[in-house]
Assembly symmetry: C2
Homo-oligomer: 250 residues x 2
DNA sequence: TTGTGAAATATGGTATATCGCACTTGGCCG
DNA sequence: CGGCCAAGTGCGATATACCATATTTCACAA
């Protein structure tokens, strides 16, 4: 058994910090060995990606503010490489923009861009909603209705951030029912692009109306009435867009 | 002033190969300093990305065949890092798939996936065509007609590969007329996903029909008739899909 | 001959080092 | 007093090093 010879391949340089592959970012309090089965096979790049994605969606990263790879890396306690790859991934989804000098930033929103996004969302999410009507199982309906109840409660409690997060989850459960590996990433990318601005600017007078449209859409989905559900989702996207656009003016 | 100590940062290790940033991949025979002004500010990652994208589109990379990062890197004469990033970028666009072990491959095509792609393309490219009708300038029309002539000639000459390449260029000129930073990347991603299979399987009996639809669409665009143009593009996508699907059966 | 397991190999992921550019800063000259 | 040049600093891009795991190969024994 020459294994003892092989295990320590090389003398191992002194100042090396192997840094265990998991849980570098996930600060979930691992209770001993339980962690082994949990996030075992998550690459750092994927963890950083998830974090940044959520940071973009929740508006933690302000639009226009440049983000430095090294800064993020040191903030997250990793080397620049996983951060670079996560940022590239987000850039491919248009969640962030690569600046001429190479650093990245959440893109600024202009009226033109927002209107472009809105018309695209109308077409794609409208289509997706109509498709979803044919794929809704009773279990999915229940899931959606449960989420709607939560969203409604969050609306009453006034927690806009959580409201939007759960609202997104609800929508995505609907879209996921289609089981379309083509549509889903497109819709995710669209939400990543408009999401930050919802978080920054959505306010009460509009939320209630949006909720009523969602409810109408859910009821239509329950009946399997795709065109009707589509109509309500389109109305929601369209009027929410009007609202955001009215804020972009000033 | 301890600066003098700092300026020559370190003695510079002997065996270092700085490897000029450009033209590592571009084997265009640089004639001396002329190269300086040419591809100056292209990162390696971007060059690798372009190459791989074209390799995927033209079917050079066979679906399912795993691509090793290191293999590509040494084939291209770079380190693995730019290759990794280019592959991640392509993976985000669904042009390649990250395998469970971390390497990547062009995804296999199944009937289900192809039908999913087709219905999505019908909606998105149909919409895009209709929009384009409102944005076509005389110059764009001329450009498209010029490309159509080339495509037609290539069809007669029987060079399917070049035919498809120019055909794509023609379509993208139309879509680009919309000037939609949202739609364009989506359409590109869709073409990256279906492109390889066109290259592998398109054959004569279908090409002529497809060309006639394209011509009809172009004429409709010229008249500014968006719905009509949309109809022809949709018919093209739909019937080309039928054709490919008939091949996927066997 | 074949199955099993261990070593060799290949490969992905990531840390570190270094290059070269870009932007900043400070000083000098007009 | 203002603008321009030069050093300095920060950062992105990339090469290299090295670990850990997946895969292959090969030897040995049943």
């Amino acid at each position: 058994m020459a294994e003892a010879l092989k295990s320590p391949r090389r003398p191992r340089r002194a100042g090396r910090q192997p840094r265990s592959r998991q849980s570098v970012l996930g600060k979930a309090g691992d209770s001993g060995l339980a962690a082994l089965g949990r996030a075992s096979r998550q690459t750092l790049q994927a963890q950083v990606y998830d974090r940044l994605k959520s940071a973009v969606m929740t508006g933690v990263l302000a639009p226009g503010q440049p983000v430095s790879i090294r800064g993020l890396a040191s903030a997250l306690g990793t080397s620049p490489i996983p951060v670079r790859e996560a940022l590239r991934h987000l850039a491919a989804e248009r969640a962030v923009e690569v600046q001429p000098n190479g650093s990245v930033a959440v893109p600024e929103m202009t009226r033109a861009r927002f209107e472009d996004l809105r018309r695209t969302r109308l077409v794609i999410e409208g289509f997706a909603t109509e498709l979803a009507a044919a794929s809704m199982t009773p279990a999915t309906i229940r899931r959606v209705e449960g989420l709607f109840a939560q969203v409604d409660a969050l609306h009453r409690s006034g927690d806009v951030k959580k409201f939007l997060a759960q609202n997104q989850r609800m929508r995505f459960v609907i879209y996921q029912a289609i089981d379309s590996p083509t549509l889903m990433p497109i819709i995710e990318s669209l939400w990543l692009q408009v999401g930050p601005f919802f978080n920054l600017s959505m306010a009460e007078p509009h939320l209630r109306r949006s909720l009523s449209y969602d409810l109408a859409a859910i009821n239509a989905l329950k009946r399997g009435d795709g065109p009707e559900a589509r109509k309500w989702i389109e109305r929601d996207i369209s009027e929410t867009g009007d609202y955001i656009l009215s804020l972009l003016k000033g």
